[in-house]
């Protein structure tokens, strides 16, 4: 029972069912501007497994070597040939896991104690927010996160930069990341402000089909018994998805959104009474990523329909007098579009 370090994550493609969750994660991987994913649902439905598997599917990105903030190489400097000695390095898009026991100093960054003690220097030691820049920040059990950390995250997520004013340090660095959260609503609800920061939200339920459930157990069991062999068996399928994401990432910005789709999106949002423009924007971005994943260059109304639940269900006004499930309300609004 010796611990194995460097464990291989459970392959994304080996997750049984949960198509909506997989779809949401793929969309977030294709277009970070969609604004993060919240996966809420029952215990043991593979929430955190799916998010952790995401790391293996992301393409590499160029960074300035040695930069603690994963800064992108300045294209101007490269083309001008000014700093030819700084060759960009390719690193995998970071997926940073924020453990619940993390202290604030490690999240935002703090005084480098070692250098302070040994050399009397005041140096900044970047934290998790720096590491997550241009990547993903994953918080499991996001609904149990301490309030002061939530405030901090909300602020950084809104401004895209991390402002550190502590221990006599004054540092500002970029912190643009896709927030991915998961949790079980039975253990506590999410603050509305934080809920609003997530572009897409997924509701996962325990599968009811016995065949599916047995298949889940079987695959998980195979994986646990021999991780290396299992991941090898799934390597081809993982490769296919990885290529699909890479292709969609390149293509997504050139995917066209026709006027008719814009109109339908507006009608849907008005019908549901979602607050503000954020819902509509997310809906369109997600539709675009969805079309790119399907290899199309034009968004169709069907793309919009497929992502409407993900993009809108957590944006409906909570009406204490209406008990209807948000998912049902979105479904009704989608039906109403046909009339």
């Amino acid at each position: 029972m010796k611990a194995q370090s460097n464990r291989k994550p459970f392959p994304f493609t080996a997750i049984v069912g949960q198509e909506e969750m997989k779809q949401a994660i793929l969309i977030a991987a294709v277009d970070p501007r969609v604004g993060g994913v919240l996966v809420f649902g029952d215990r043991g439905t593979g929430k955190s497994t799916a998010v952790r598997a995401l790391a293996g599917l992301l393409p590499k990105m160029p960074v300035v070597p040695g930069c603690p903030y994963n800064s992108a190489p300045d294209p101007a400097a490269v083309s001008a040939g000014g700093k030819s000695d700084v060759k960009p390095k390719m690193i995998p898009v970071p997926v940073v896991d924020m453990p619940l026991g993390a202290t604030e100093d490690r999240v935002v960054g703090a005084l480098d104690l070692e250098r302070a003690l040994a050399h009397g220097e005041k140096a900044f030691e970047p934290g998790l927010l720096a590491r997550a820049n241009r990547g993903f920040l994953y918080i499991d059990e996001v609904n149990l996160l301490e309030d002061h950390l939530v405030d901090l995250l909300l602020d950084v997520a809104a401004s895209g930069e991390n402002l550190v004013e502590r221990e006599g340090l004054s540092v500002r660095h970029p912190a643009r990341f896709v927030l991915v959260g998961s949790g079980n609503p039975e253990e506590g609800e999410l603050r509305p402000q934080l809920l609003d920061r997530f572009g897409l939200s997924v509701d996962v339920r325990t599968p009811t089909d016995l065949k599916d459930r047995v298949e889940i157990i079987r695959r998980r069991d195979e994986y646990e018994m021999d991780e290396a062999a299992f991941t090898r068996r799934w390597a081809r399928r993982e490769g296919t998805v990885r290529r699909k994401i890479a292709k969609a990432r390149d293509a997504v910005s050139s995917v066209d959104v026709p006027e008719t789709v814009l109109e339908v999106a507006a009608r849907l949002c008005v019908g549901l009474g979602t607050d503000g423009l954020r819902g509509e924007l997310t809906l369109l971005r997600a539709s675009r990523a969805h079309a790119a994943l399907a290899g199309r260059t034009k968004v169709e109304v069907s793309d919009l329909r497929d992502v409407a639940q993900l993009a809108l269900r957590h944006r409906l006004r909570r009406d204490p007098l209406d008990d209807t499930d948000a998912t049902v309300r979105v479904a009704r609004a989608l039906e109403a579009l046909d009339d």
Binding site: M1, R43, A102, L117, L144, E167, P185, E187, L210
Partner: protein, 582 residues
């Protein structure tokens, strides 16, 4: 040959020992449901003897600090070395061995989260006090759950990840001890992973899990591991039907409190909790007999399981289980004991560690460090000045619990129940925004009941309210009495109770459930005065058709603010509650 359930819970407790010693961390851990008793001690001692002597055994006390559990800055070593030195936490110390969790049901939500994360990923991600490390930790968690039936149960997140379940409360200590197995534990340890389990057996385990309403796949996976370990211990290459049934009993059926005991003891003496003492040797000896390598016959396992699990019992268990799951969901896993010096940590502030305030060593060091050159400090001789001192700050956890006491009697139901519900729902939405907890007490017919224990789930509160029927007499006194109890409980947990009574004040049922308007009114006033003595903030909303002197009198007795609903819009009511809660 038919697979059969074993005779007593003691047999399963004894059988669990070699299984846990073989699988170790792969099974997650053991949910050890037992009060502190000789039986529990004996079980733990037996496991310490059985395990690989090299592997660590770490004891984690109740309400452990995160610093101590996960690790943090070692002050003296840091000062001596002149560089940050990590003090290893208990969790990483348990790597490759066992972690005994005392009073597991009392551990904080944060501790439980850290342990769950370790069990899921086999590592501890440390992001604390300037340290950022991934430490491999693979430990088998032995969670001693001492929860009494009506107390807060073990955190369901942790329970879900503990594959083996042992209930020892009805077991005599003399019956517990390591049992002889044909294959040694060390040998089984090497070979158990290669034991085959066919798909039909997995299906069988899944069916049993479904019948018990165990939704998560984790317990079924643990049952597979257990079946493998059992087969390996008895020298088989394929998991036999007996091993599948044993695994189901230990990992699945035992998960529902009392289920296994009920199955094992005949219905006639179901009230007798302690099974008759039996020799473990004779019971366990026959494990090996049927475990030939011929492979299992799933139909027989199915039959055996069906035979031992009568439908009615299962249905009963299922509803019992569902009820418990419901209770758990509303449990106060998030509530923490209040005290001026406890609660959620806040960033440290300058100040002196006086009046019980604790020094934040790390922050103090950080404040002092940059000045060492100027002050002439050196390695091992840090010069710390008064202005460097930082103290830990905590936000006071004065969480408010709003207790709605709703009159659902006939007189109220006819005219105002719907309106009352509407008003409460608006209040609920407000409570949700303020992150208050909400409890719901309703009274109608002959008595009062707690419809919803304190919860933060708006959805559950709404559901409980929507399903609240109206009709019958008005047991106002009972309603107030129950509300007082709920408020007391909240107060004891360190929350601030706010009681909102919504009634027309026309009590006509006594505390004993008898219709007697005169006595009922007197009792209601008496209970109200008793309530007033506690000094809780309260609000009496008159839901009658028009304001009445009776309601006013009751409000006075409660020392509650009085509001008449016809004149008070929902938002006004809300303002008052907010004021009261502030």
């Amino acid at each position: 040959m038919m697979a059969e359930l074993r005779a007593t819970s003691a047999d399963y407790a004894a059988l669990a020992l070699p299984v846990v010693a073989v699988t170790g961390a792969a099974i997650g851990g053991v949910w050890l449901r037992a009060q502190a008793s000789p039986a529990r001690q004996r079980w733990l001692d037996s496991l310490t003897e059985l395990r690989d002597r090299e592997s660590p055994w770490v004891r984690v006390p109740a309400s452990i600090d995160e610093d101590r559990l996960l690790g943090g800055l070692d002050l003296s070593a840091t000062l001596a070395a002149g560089r940050p030195v990590l003090q290893q936490g208990l969790m990483p110390a348990a790597d490759g061995g066992y972690m005994e969790l005392r009073m597991a049901e009392r551990q904080s939500a944060a501790t439980v989260s850290s342990i769950c994360s370790m069990l899921d990923h086999g590592e501890l991600r440390l992001e604390r006090d300037g340290f950022s490390e991934d430490l491999p930790v693979s430990a088998c968690v032995i969670a001693c759950d001492e929860a009494l039936p009506d107390a807060d149960p073990l955190d369901p997140r942790l329970a879900d990840r503990l594959g083996m379940v042992c209930a020892l409360d009805a077991v005599h200590a003399s019956l517990i001890g390591p049992i002889e197995t044909p294959v040694s534990i060390a040998e089984a340890n090497l070979g158990w992973r290669s034991v085959r389990v066919d798909t039909a057996s997995i299906q069988e385990l899944q069916r049993i899990a479904d019948a018990l309403q165990i939704c998560s796949p984790r317990p079924v996976r643990a049952a597979l591991h257990t079946a493998r370990a059992l087969a390996a211990l008895w020298g088989c290459e394929v998991a036999s039907e007996q091993s599948i049934l044993d695994a189901a009993a230990m990992c699945l059926i035992n998960r529902v409190p009392g289920a296994l005991q009920q199955l094992l003891s005949p219905p006639s003496d179901a009230t007798e909790p302690e099974p008759p003492p039996r020799s473990t040797d004779t019971d366990t000896a026959d494990v090996g007999n049927d475990t030939n390598a011929s492979g299992p016959k799933p139909e027989e396992v199915a039959d055996a399981t069906a035979a031992v699990l009568p439908d009615q019992l299962l249905a009963g268990l299922a509803s019992e289980h569902a009820r418990q799951a419901k209770q758990r969901a509303g449990g106060n896993a998030n509530s923490e004991v209040v005290g001026g010096l406890r609660g959620k940590p806040m960033p440290s502030r300058s100040g002196l560690p006086r009046g019980g305030r604790r020094l934040d060593i790390l922050a103090t060091l950080k404040a002092a460090a940059p000045w060492q050159r100027l002050r002439g400090g050196s390695l091992g001789q840090l010069r710390v000045k008064r202005e460097d001192l930082k103290v830990r700050r905590f936000t006071e956890q004065t969480r408010t619990t709003t207790i709605f006491v709703v009159d659902a009697s006939g007189s109220a139901a006819v005219q105002r129940l719907a309106e009352t519900k509407g008003a409460i729902e608006l209040l609920l939405a407000e409570c949700y925004v303020r992150r208050d907890q909400v409890a719901l007490v309703a009274f109608r017919g002959k008595g009062a009941e707690v419809l919803l224990p304190a919860t933060r789930s708006l959805v559950r509160a709404k559901r409980a309210l929507a399903s609240l029927p109206g009709g019958g007499g008005t047991p106002l006194a009972s309603g107030l009495a129950v509300a007082t109890q709920v408020a007391d409980a909240a107060f004891k947990r360190g929350e601030t109770p706010v009681v909102v009574l919504m009634s027309d004040g026309r009590g006509n049922i006594t505390l004993d459930g008898e219709p007697d308007p005169g006595l009922a009114t007197e009792q209601a006033l008496a209970v109200a005065r008793e309530f007033a003595a506690r000094g809780y903030v309260s609000l009496a909303i008159d839901t009658g058709r028009r304001p009445s002197a009776r309601s006013q009198r009751l409000a006075d007795a409660m020392r509650a603010r009085y509001l008449a609903l016809p004149f008070a819009g929902a938002s006004e009511v809300n303002d008052v509650v907010r004021e009261a809660a502030a």
